[in-house]
Symmetry: C2
Subunit: 252 residues, 2 copies
Amino acid sequence: MNKPLILITNDDGHDANGIAVLTRLMMKIGDVVVVAPDGPRSAQSNALTVTHPIRFKKIEETEGLIRYICTGTPTDCVKLALNEIVERKPDLVVAGINHGSNAAVNVIYSGTMGAVLEGCENGILSIGFSICDHSMDADFSVFEPCILKITREALRNGLPHATCLNVNAPVGEIKGVKVARQCDGRWTKEYAKRTDPRGGSYFWLTGNFENHEPESTDTDEWALSQGYISIVPTKIDLTAYQAMDEICGWEF
Amino acid sequence: MNKPLILITNDDGHDANGIAVLTRLMMKIGDVVVVAPDGPRSAQSNALTVTHPIRFKKIEETEGLIRYICTGTPTDCVKLALNEIVERKPDLVVAGINHGSNAAVNVIYSGTMGAVLEGCENGILSIGFSICDHSMDADFSVFEPCILKITREALRNGLPHATCLNVNAPVGEIKGVKVARQCDGRWTKEYAKRTDPRGGSYFWLTGNFENHEPESTDTDEWALSQGYISIVPTKIDLTAYQAMDEICGWEF
């Protein structure tokens, strides 16, 4: 049997430590093609580049590994890879390792998960890996064997249609793995206001995450707070099925 | 009772016809604050500006209407409005009218729906309006009374927690309104490859939408194809609950 073909991208850019670690790990499992942004693209969600064209360039080719950089978003990287770069459909798309949590509502802003949803949308087994440490020097060593185990289990078992995985790791010791749901919560106090030398105001995004259900023990935030890796099966279909009947009763 | 306070944004930019029409309509219902991107931000999904600061500027103030432009994405516009611009929490966030369909998987790429999800994430009734016509001269006249009716019904009935509405209109005559689910499908042949005068390749995003369930009569794509407005109740929680048990059985 052929080795699996694995497409890797991220949102911290091609030169981040996280993607270097993920690439090294995935080379133990299959042949790897990296198509990563040429610089940071954090919080790019599923954004696509539509107002200008994008380009890609090969920067490395060795046994079992080809690396490209791309001028677009993480989702652009996956689309461009599937349409123009890889010769056959990959068996797996992985993104990360993201420097920073993609748990709870972060999933909807995450460029990492944007890439993962794009792989999934194309019918490919897709997994995002993130660690709850924004530092560019984050220590991935404890997480590494878990990434291999989760990836091998995913390849062995597959996932339901239009479903991918959002995997987040706590900092430090790992007690185990919890399959969890996306925690309800929101960001508050989101801007730092500054004044430029000419007196104009400008705003930097920042903020605090507010967990709306700190008592729930089945959420990704809870799992992470207790030292577990959280795995949230994540889907592309955003339909709120439970609300459909109610809205059908409205007077149009 | 005070008039409702309505926050409006879009992804086609503050000077698009769609947002002008939506602003005129919403002024019949409440006091309006527009915070719109200063240029086109299509397909920006829930993207946030994190690598540089953003700014906003008031460009108009008249009876019942204040308009601002913002240098960020549609989601930035909503975040900035809620954190730094409006004096009280709006009763409603509306985005659009988008020039182009946000049905089916388009919802995950849409800047319009990114803004709507952001309003929803902040506990505000939120609705996105789009028409299946990319032209900047799209004719909204048939859609207009439906927008008023849907908005009034939403204000009267409210929506379940963390649920918003994705409303799309067909081109031409409208037969009625269907509450629908997000159609399964994907984009194919996504890039036009061009060569620059120096011989380098560049790629423009384009593509064809492939409906994976053309026979289903409960999807947004079906409703639109039959001349109905589609309303998809849409949620922030991406958890694939039905996959959780299966993954709990994996060997970690």
